[in-house]
């Protein structure tokens, strides 16, 4: 295991279990063309520090959506990812509470801070997805919510007197939880991903992966990848958005080998080999969440948070949002704009 910069005690403890994601080098791989060469130091490179200062001051927004049938451990996983109770677990449906008749969209925002970086994290939960008898079109409320956020942003952007920093509620990342049946994807999974992969970054995740052996896991992942390919579903990171060769090689490896990540989530700590680790205790052993030999949680965390967080936002802004905007401005022509409260023209957009 390769240990990166040590930032806290917890870090030191876990770095021996989990190889730290190497801090990406700040230097781009290939030198770019120079027309006029500089002799002596000018100070242009101070712009990097200026940028860093500015972004630390303004902070970041990140909106993550979790979709999957109830009981697949969505809330636990999100809490494990962000090491805090960002998502309130629904501890099963109480006898008194009924399963929601339709898919509900619940967005909860929190502010978290680490290393001077402030992040407004919004977790969007979708209770009721896939839980009905008839699940036809259960992705529609989700697609509607996503488009509503694009619409909100567009409205702000199109104002005459507009804010310096438009609040970003767009969904940057959608974690789709696949049930670990070990066989193949369900029709519902394919339907959802087919519709939504065109409007949002989808990261498929195999939930509760502690029910599969290593061989079963590998086979299942291969089968899932194949099925997604056959159905023309492009999950994040999408091939067509690789910016350069460096991105492509890195992302190819993730697309073809690691994804979909088979994860296990937990918010309980246990003592293993003298260290406190997050895990699930079973009669046959303790499953360590951050142990790469046990599950791929650490890979998912590094991927989403430590290396591709900014890219998730950029793809959402530069591609998905632009696609929505272009369609909206083209289709609707002089029609009154869609308001968030009343969705008169929503059908025409979909």
């Amino acid at each position: 295991p390769h240990a990166g910069p040590v930032e806290s005690k917890n870090e030191a403890a876990m770095s021996e279990l989990v190889p730290e994601a190497r801090q990406k080098p700040v230097v781009p791989m290939k030198p770019m063309g120079i027309n006029a060469s500089l002799l002596g130091y000018i100070g242009i490179d101070t712009i990097i520090e200026q940028m860093r200062k500015k972004t630390m001051k303004t902070g970041f927004d990140f909106n993550i959506m979790v979709v999957g049938q109830s009981g697949l451990g969505k809330s636990t996983l999100v809490n494990t990812l962000f090491k805090s109770q960002v998502s309130r677990k629904s501890s099963g449906w109480n006898r008194e509470e009924k399963i929601p008749k339709t898919v509900e969209i619940k967005a909860i925002g929190h502010v978290i801070e680490e290393g001077g970086v402030k992040m407004k994290l919004t977790v969007i939960d979708t209770p009721g997805f896939g839980d009905q008898i008839n699940n036809e079109n259960c992705w529609e409320p989700i697609e509607k919510y996503i488009n509503e956020q694009y619409e909100k942003f567009l409205k702000e952007e199109v104002n005459i007197a507009r804010k310096k920093r438009i609040p970003d509620t767009r969904v940057h990342c959608c974690l789709y939880f696949i049930s670990p049946t070990g066989h193949s994807l369900r029709p519902l999974d394919l339907e959802f991903m087919k519709h939504l992969s065109k409007v949002v970054n989808i990261i498929p995740v195999i939930a509760k992966a502690d029910t599969m052996t290593l061989e079963e896991k590998t086979e299942f992942k291969q089968r899932v990848r194949k099925e997604l390919e056959v159905n023309g579903i492009e999950f994040y990171p999408q091939k067509e958005f690789d910016e350069d060769l460096e991105d492509k090689t890195e992302n190819d490896k993730i697309r073809q080998e690691s994804m979909p990540f088979a994860v296990v989530g937990s918010d309980k700590e246990y003592q293993v080999n003298g260290k406190r680790v997050l895990g699930r205790k079973t009669p046959w052993g303790i499953i360590e969440v951050e142990n790469l030999n046990h599950c791929e949680f650490a890979l998912l965390r590094d991927f989403v948070i430590r290396t591709h967080l900014q890219d998730l936002k950029e793809v959402t802004h530069n591609i998905h949002y632009e696609t929505y905007r272009a369609k909206r401005l083209n289709d609707n022509g002089g029609l009154p704009p869609m308001t968030v409260e009343t969705e008169e023209n929503h059908e025409s957009n979909l």
């Binding site: 230097v27 500089l38 002799l39 000018i42 242009i44 200062k53 090491k83 929190h110």
Partner: protein, 424 residues
């Protein structure tokens, strides 16, 4: 900003503190751009200063004094320092201050700045746009060169700066400052700053809100306007080649802060690039607001219902599209018409040209056919005659043979028959 959001504490290291690094890495890949506008009289040292600021000789041909109006010349260069790639665009005025009547000198400059805003706005309003890869040409800083007269600002200086101070960050500099003595310089600077204030001209102040830089920025603000010296040539001093101007009485070193403020200007430009760009964005926003309001857009329409900008734009766009369609139809019709006319003309000509030929050959053929028929008929007649002749011959021959057979007498019956046959 984060209304209604709880602040949560993290129980362990999550890792999103790498977010600024991720952002920086992407920005480096993408590259940076910076646009400088230099306004100053011909010969005041704009090219020399820019070359000295970036320690690179930007080749540019010197211009004459005899241009009839003010023009702007833009050049783009790519500079690299460690891993930062900078696309630097330098725009210089050409012919500024040379005209006899300078009343309109500032207009081309204002127009140029507005044109860059307009280009950006246009891109922003497109339906399919690529803002991410758009080369931003908006002017981030304007270096205004003041003549080293030692007295005060000229009227053209005041006019020009006033017309620009709401559109661009202005940093006034005193060009060719090596022609002023130190004491004169202090007085000159004071005079200029008080004139700017009394004329209500806003120049760029280096930001002082961030503690890390506020001290140095406040100090530097006091040096405005910067007394700059630039040089394209290098002079050997000791064992090094430095940018300098060599006079009989001494050498003015461009990079010596005791000799001039060029290095201060360079430092300030570099360390405040982001702030300059930020303020440019704010200028752009007010340009955009004015422009859209002029187009008749409102955020709140009549009856206080929010009117969307895109509605107005869409309405105009549809108008435009319909107009285009109408024109297209018209052109199509005209084209079809002309084609038909031409085709008819061509057809006629063809017919005329080919008719005699056809008729001639047709005639010949007809004649030929007629001849054939006639011959055929004649042949038939002849054949008939031949057939008749053969018949007659056959009959004659048969009569002859009958006569020779009937001579041996048989009885009164045959006589009778004979008689009958003779009669027959």
């Amino acid at each position: 900003q984060n209304v209604g959001c709880r602040t949560l504490s993290l129980s362990a290291h999550v890792g999103f503190d790498s977010l600024p690094d991720q952002l920086i890495r992407k920005s480096i890949k993408h590259g940076f751009c910076f646009n400088i506008l230099c306004i100053g009289e011909t010969g005041i040292g704009k090219s020399a200063l820019v070359s000295s600021l970036f320690n690179t000789n930007f080749e540019d041909s010197p211009s004459t004094h005899f241009l009839s109006n003010v023009r702007l010349r833009a050049q783009t260069f790519e500079l690299q320092e460690s891993n930062v790639l900078l696309k630097l665009t330098v725009v210089k005025t050409v012919g500024f201050g040379d005209q006899v009547n300078k009343a309109d000198s500032y207009q081309p400059i204002v127009d140029y700045i507005d044109a860059q805003f307009e280009a950006y706005l246009e891109e922003e309003l497109k339906i399919i746009r690529s803002l991410f890869s758009y080369h931003d040409t908006r002017i981030h800083v304007c270096l205004y060169f003041i003549s080293p007269t030692g007295r005060s600002l000229k009227t053209i200086d005041l006019l020009t700066m006033r017309s620009l101070d709401s559109k661009v960050n202005i940093i006034p500099v005193i060009g060719k400052a090596d022609s002023i003595s130190k004491t004169e310089l202090q007085e000159f600077k004071k005079k200029i700053m008080s004139e700017l204030v009394s004329n209500g001209i806003r120049i760029y102040q280096f930001p002082t809100d961030d503690e890390t830089v506020s001290e140095i920025n406040t100090i530097t603000n006091a040096y405005l306007p910067f007394a700059v010296v630039g040089s394209m040539e290098k002079v050997k001093i000791g064992d090094k080649m430095v940018r300098a101007r060599q006079y009989p009485w001494g050498i003015v070193k461009v990079e010596n802060e005791n000799h001039c403020d060029t290095i201060k200007l360079r430092r300030m430009l570099c360390t405040n690039m982001e702030d300059l760009k930020e303020k440019t964005r704010a200028y752009y926003e007010s340009y955009r607001r004015c422009r859209l309001e002029k187009l008749g857009c409102r955020d709140i329409g009549p009856e206080n219902k929010p009117v969307s900008l895109q509605e107005v734009i869409e309405a105009k766009r549809r108008e435009f599209c319909l107009e285009m369609e109408r024109e297209e139809e018209e052109i199509k019709q005209r084209f079809v018409q002309r084609v038909n006319e031409k085709a008819a003309v061509l057809e006629e000509a063809e017919q005329q040209a080919s008719m005699p030929v056809l008729t001639k050959s047709e005639c010949l053929m007809l004649m030929h056919q007629e001849e054939e028929l006639k011959l055929g008929e004649k042949k038939k007649l002849l054949e008939d005659e031949i057939a008749q002749f053969i018949e007659k011959k056959a009959i004659t021959e048969s009569i002859k043979s009958q006569v020779s057979v009937s001579t041996p007498v048989v009885s009164w019956k045959t006589q009778g028959l004979q008689k009958v046959s003779a009669d027959a």
